[in-house]
């Protein structure tokens, strides 16, 4: 069993074992063990990758190929490069933290953890796939459990939010599948057979007319998951109704599938189309950055603030990807990683506050820092990290993006870049507003005096997420170098 | 052949009967009446068979024999339909069509 397929097999085994669990205690132990194994595997993968990279200079390493459907030339092909490795580590960390945060889910715990682990299967599979069809299958596996997770274990108008989220993402998948099949049916332009394999398609020059048509479909198909304006509205209500670990996983990992897909599929396979359409999507992305930030200011529900903040920061990822240079792409990937961790932390913190006070309304909360010192302190630190304070990963990511984006000399790109840079001010406004309102100030409700302090599993989850943020923030050099090598082949196709 | 009557006149007769039957099938409210319309349709078809047999192929007998089959089949089908209607009546105590519209949106 090769190192990569284990990432799909181990979760499946975990799910099967979970089927035998009887109650909360057993479910969570099994889920914990499963996710710890995944986490260990992902750390091991980093080292294995670096070792392999020093001898092997293919685009993807650890490649394995199994034929699945001969007639359509669909293979189960997997492989990784630095970007996939980074994303896999991110997923493993967030799943592990999510299991810790969900330690106390006592309503149908077995089914909850099963759905969660199936979701992570889909995500891992997506990141290791090189075959388009397999990638799409795993993408669907990742999206569908969201319906159950939000609809059953969520809060508020959960059925409606679950339905809206799933339908919008399904709509995006439908558009995406048209794009993918478009690519597939044009993949024999060089005289070979039709193929779904990304690396093979990249050798072929797909005709320009096809590129112009299918690029927007593929881009939108992926970017809806990455909260592209104006298709982002599934995100606020979806996150607000979802249970904590699901929000963490969704905002932290799933939404990164979008950026990754854009990068891996849309831009790599359809480069001319990407360049033709770049201005249009760049405007949408830049609008999304400012729009999300402005929208976050006026929200009253903590999760809505975070959801709009995610729209803004993920807009930055798409914005950076559309700038087509190495520094900006480097920044986009680091931002995916950084934002994933930080937003997962935020959702975890919000979940902790909500679980204790049963409200997410910022006008009702206040002065909680005195009662919950650990959660309060971590909240303030996370807030500062989120708005791009140096010493945390957000700064590294954003500076890469801004410097990279600024390398374009023309006025159009410059103005959009300045728009994106201005978001640092608006982000500070809503973050400090949120922190100031709920954590600081006088205690808003006398009943809050007796709120239970942070438990060991909550603290572990938070610390687990904070450590990579600080490491990347203080020592970014290694990550950048590792990513630059893998970005190189993708960039060459575009230039 | 009947003296002085062409095939078209009798065809008209059987068509009128057929469409009366069809109309009756679509619009009547009483299940028995619908059955009667079905009989009309069948009989119109039977007339057609005999008619074509007499006027176009006078040396053959197949038309007439087939008509006897139709009559027999109509009888059997009526018996079956009545049985269904009786069981339906036991269920909804009515033989109006509007009381059988259960499988709707």
């Amino acid at each position: 069993m090769d190192i990569l397929s284990l990432f799909v097999v181990v979760p499946i085994i975990t799910v099967i074992v979970l089927g035998f669990a009887k109650d909360l205690k057993q479910s969570r132990i099994i889920a914990l063990v499963g996710s710890l194994v995944q986490f260990a595997m992902s750390i091991n993968l980093i080292f294995a990758y670096l070792k392999e990279r020093s001898v092997n200079t293919d685009i993807m390493v650890f490649v394995k190929d199994l034929t699945w459907f001969e007639t359509f030339n669909i293979h189960y092909t997997i492989g990784v490069d630095a970007i996939s490795v980074v994303m896999i580590v991110l997923t493993a960390v967030i799943v592990l933290a999510g299991v810790f945060i969900s330690w106390a889910v006592d309503d149908l715990p077995k089914e909850f953890f099963i759905s969660l682990i199936i979701l992570s299967t889909g995500v891992f599979g997506f990141f290791i796939s090189i075959d388009l069809f397999t990638m799409f299958v795993f993408y669907e596996i990742a999206v569908i459990p969201m319906y159950l997770l939000i609809g059953i274990w969520g809060s508020g108008p959960r059925e409606f939010s679950a339905m809206k989220l799933t339908l919008m993402l399904m709509g995006a998948s439908a558009v995406l599948s048209v794009g993918i099949f478009g690519i597939y049916f044009n993949s024999n332009a060089g005289g070979g057979p039709l193929t779904f394999n990304i690396l093979d398609i990249a050798q072929v020059d797909i005709p320009l007319a096809a590129q112009k048509l299918f690029y927007p479909l593929t881009f939108i198909g992926f970017a809806v998951l990455g909260a592209l304006f104006p298709f982002h509205t599934w995100s606020p209500s979806g996150h607000a109704s979802a249970p904590t670990a699901v929000s963490m996983l969704h905002a932290g990992v799933l939404m990164k599938l979008g950026g990754y897909g854009v990068f891996r599929v849309a831009m790599y396979l359809l480069p001319e189309g990407a360049i033709i359409w770049s201005d249009f999507f760049l405007i949408l992305a830049a609008i999304g950055v400012v729009y999300g930030a402005m929208g976050a200011i006026m929200q009253k529900d903590l999760k809505y603030i975070n959801a709009y903040a995610s729209v803004s920061h993920l807009g930055l990822v798409l914005f950076a990807l559309l700038m087509f240079n190495k520094t900006a792409w480097n920044g986009a990937i680091i931002q995916s990683l950084s934002h994933g961790l930080l937003t997962a932390m935020f959702f975890a913190l919000i979940g902790m506050v909500y679980g204790r006070t049963h409200t997410r309304d910022i006008s009702k909360l206040g002065g909680i820092m005195k009662i919950l010192p650990f959660i309060g302190a971590v909240y303030v630190i996370t807030g500062l990290a989120y708005l791009g304070l140096p010493g945390f990963s957000g700064f590294v990511a954003e500076m890469n993006i801004f410097v990279g984006a600024f390398q374009h000399e023309d006025t159009f790109h410059r103005i959009l870049t300045i728009m994106a840079v201005s978001s640092i001010v608006v982000t500070a406004v809503y973050i400090l507003r949120m922190v100031g309102k709920i954590m600081m100030g006088p205690l808003s409700n006398e009943e809050y005096k007796d709120l239970p302090k942070a438990t060991w599993y909550e603290k572990t989850g938070l610390v687990l997420l904070m450590i990579p943020v600080v490491i990347i923030g203080v020592m970014p050099f290694g990550l950048g170098e590792m990513l630059k090598e893998s970005i190189q082949p993708f960039l060459e196709r575009l230039l | 052949m009947i003296e002085g009557i062409s095939i078209y006149e009798v065809l008209t007769l059987s068509s009128i009967l057929f469409f009366i039957g069809v109309y009756g099938f679509f619009t009547r409210e009483n299940l028995i009446t619908i059955l009667m319309s079905i009989e009309l349709i069948l009989n119109a078809a039977a007339i057609n068979f005999v008619l074509i047999n007499t006027y176009l192929y006078p040396d053959f007998l197949q038309g007439a024999i087939f008509t006897i089959f139709i009559i027999a089949m109509a009888a059997a089908e009526t018996a079956l339909a009545i049985a269904i209607i009786i069981n339906l009546y036991k269920l909804v105590s009515s033989i109006e069509v509007k009381d059988t519209q259960v499988m709707k949106y």
Partner: protein, 638 residues
């Protein structure tokens, strides 16, 4: 010479922050104050040692060469990268001395002032974080590194202003400070991006080299009539103006007084607020050579206007910390304008030297003034000067040190402030007459409002206090005495020997006629204050009424706060953010949900096809058959 040990100067406070921050529950309050003070004491000693080594033994061929240690931290492109490192040159060493001195004094003072407070350990942790950030800022080797520490200083300031986080006014003040400076930092960042792109480097040594490509090629690209480098410099100055509370970014400084007084002394008087001045000084060769110093003129006028503006407002305020806050803004305006009117070579660089000199002396006496104010507030539990009076009888040491600081800031002869202020006025006189006249006027105003403050607190009416105010404990007195000493002795350092724009020492003499003018104006100010405030009378009120509405405008700080509040609440929140949130909920989201609703309505309309009537089914069946028959027939005929 080997200066690599200087890396410890900021690292010790960082270690303090980590230890005290992570261990704040376990470390008892009595030790944390000692740990903090000892740590800063070590940095203090190291800084003075560095200064001694550098200034007395560091000259190479008569020039103070810069010593740099750096390592690449983040690679952007092949040419652009962020380094982390240490830059030792005259102004950075001077700043090391200033920052570590004030920080150490504030640490000692806080041991007494913050005693008994709940978050005592947390306070010292934050002080450590701030000291680390500020020391790192002054030793930065490149634009991005200074930006990184700039942001960290801003975050420390946020945490320290919001230290009393259960007070809504403190929370709001911290937020305001951070956001205003962040807006200024937005300009700073864009300036850095422009600078980096068009010069290909962020490094200070490469940028500042008068024969280097950055300065030589400044005219190569222009945008809207001005060179892009000039734009970059102005934007970078915007960042500096934000941190240094220059107009129009000054609104956060008065509110920042919500923080504990030692914080005000450290951050908002002596160190963080001079970061903007330091930034311009750091990039001075660029400011001077690019585009004939256009950006430098902007600096000069912003500084001059700010100093006048702030001095006028300071005349009217009753909260003693606010008077001091506006005074700080005014004095920083002096430092900015001194840089602005300065030239480069030798004696022409008098403005540069004077600015740095005044930075040094101002740090000493302004910190002392704040610490003194802190003692008074600690004793009386009120900030308002109308509640005070006659305190000289109760708090002698505070009284004397405060008087010394007040004399120094007013430019009374033989104090440190006299020397530094006169150098500034001399530089202004040589280069820009308008700014000179304004500055002399401001000197008079300064003396007046300072002594208004002094007399109102220590003389004036004999207030009866509920419980007799007591003098501060030793931990608070010692730093004040040290700073008072520096407020006098600091003036006798021959600054021009050490600090100059081109790093070569020059001779600066006191211009006696200008000094006489300035001293006279100062003495007039003191005398006026003496008349109005030494004894209780209503001369002041009658005088201020004579100004009519101007007095009210000055008292209300010329409505800048109201304008900003209007801009943020009504324009940005009300007219931009709220409509966007509404738009998102009711238009964008509604269209998505609308698609669902349309589908539902459509389905509702066609559900009639499932009528349950078998006759309808038969009709559809036959109808379909007829259609197919017609189609087949049609095709068959063709």
């Amino acid at each position: 010479m080997d200066f690599s040990y200087t890396i410890w100067i900021p690292l010790i406070p960082l270690a303090l922050f980590l230890i005290l921050g992570l261990g704040s529950k376990k470390i008892p309050a009595s030790i944390s104050g000692w740990i903090g003070s000892l740590g800063l004491g070590a940095s203090f000693v190291l800084s003075y040692y560095t200064a001694y080594q550098y200034f007395l033994h560091g000259k190479v061929n008569g020039v103070y060469e810069a010593v740099v240690y750096k390592t690449t931290w983040l690679n952007f492109t092949e040419t652009l990268h962020i380094d982390m490192g240490v830059l030792i040159d005259p102004i950075s060493v001077m700043m090391l001395v200033v920052v570590s001195t004030i920080s150490f004094m504030v640490h000692l003072y806080s041991r007494g002032y913050m005693k008994g407070d709940d978050g005592y350990t947390r306070f010292f942790a934050y002080l450590g974080l701030f000291s680390f950030s500020m020391l790192g800022l002054v030793m930065a080797t490149n634009l991005f590194q200074i930006y990184i520490f700039w942001e960290l200083v801003g975050a420390s300031s946020y945490l320290l202003i919001g230290y009393y986080y259960t007070k809504p006014s403190a929370v709001s003040a911290a937020k305001k400070a951070f956001i205003v400076t962040r807006f200024a930092d937005f300009g700073f960042l864009v300036g850095i991006l422009i600078m980096g792109y068009y010069t290909g480097t962020f490094d200070f040594q490469e940028l500042n080299n008068p024969e280097g490509s950055a300065i030589m090629n400044w005219a190569s690209t222009s945008f809207m009539g001005m060179s892009v480098i000039t734009w970059a410099l102005i934007l970078i100055f915007m960042g500096g103006a934000g941190k240094s509370a220059m107009l129009p970014f000054h609104i956060w400084l008065p509110d920042a007084m919500e923080g504990p007084t030692p914080v005000s002394a450290l951050i908002h008087a002596a160190t963080m607020v001079v970061a903007g001045v330091y930034l311009v000084a750091r990039l001075f060769p660029m400011y001077y050579f690019v585009d004939d110093g256009f950006a430098l003129q902007v600096v000069a006028y912003v500084g001059a206007i700010s100093s006048l503006f702030a001095a006028i407002i300071a005349l009217t305020q009753y909260d003693i910390k606010r008077v001091l806050a506006f005074s700080t803004m005014s004095q920083i305006g002096y430092m900015m304008l001194a840089l602005g009117v300065s030239k480069y070579e030798g004696h022409d660089g008098l403005g540069y030297m004077a600015s740095m000199f005044h930075l040094f002396t101002h740090a000493m006496f302004k910190a002392l003034l704040f610490l003194g104010a802190g003692s008074v507030i600690h004793a009386i539990h009120s900030n308002d000067m109308r509640d005070m009076g006659g305190l000289r009888k109760y708090m002698p040491i505070t009284h004397i040190t405060f008087l010394i600081a007040a004399l120094s800031i007013s430019g009374f002869p033989f104090t440190a402030g006299f020397f530094s202020k006169d150098e500034i006025l001399a530089a202004a006189f040589e280069n820009n007459m308008l700014i000179y006249i304004s500055s002399v006027f401001v000197a008079g105003l300064t003396a007046f409002y300072m002594f208004r403050l002094y007399f109102s607190i220590f003389w004036g009416k004999d207030t009866k206090y509920e419980h007799a105010p007591h003098e501060s404990p030793m931990s608070m007195k010692v730093p004040m005495i040290f700073l008072a000493f520096m407020s006098i002795a600091g003036g006798y350092i021959h600054f021009s020997e050490y600090i100059s724009a081109d790093r070569m020492p020059f001779e600066a003499h006191l211009n006696y006629s200008l000094a006489a003018i300035a001293t006279t104006v100062g003495l007039i100010g003191i005398a006026l204050a003496f008349v109005f405030y030494k004894k209780e009378n209503n001369l002041a009120t009658r005088f201020s009424n004579a100004f009519g509405p101007f007095y009210k405008w000055a008292y209300d700080k010329f409505y800048f706060d109201e304008i900003y509040l209007f801009m943020t609440k009504k324009v940005i929140f009300g007219m931009t953010a709220a409509p966007i949130a509404w738009f998102d909920k009711h238009v964008v989201d509604a269209s998505m949900v609308g698609i669902g609703n349309v589908t539902e309505k459509f389905s509702y309309k066609i559900k009639g096809a499932q009528s349950g009537k078998f006759q309808d089914y038969a009709m559809s069946f036959i109808g379909g058959g007829v259609v197919i028959a017609i189609v087949i027939f049609y095709i068959w005929i063709r």
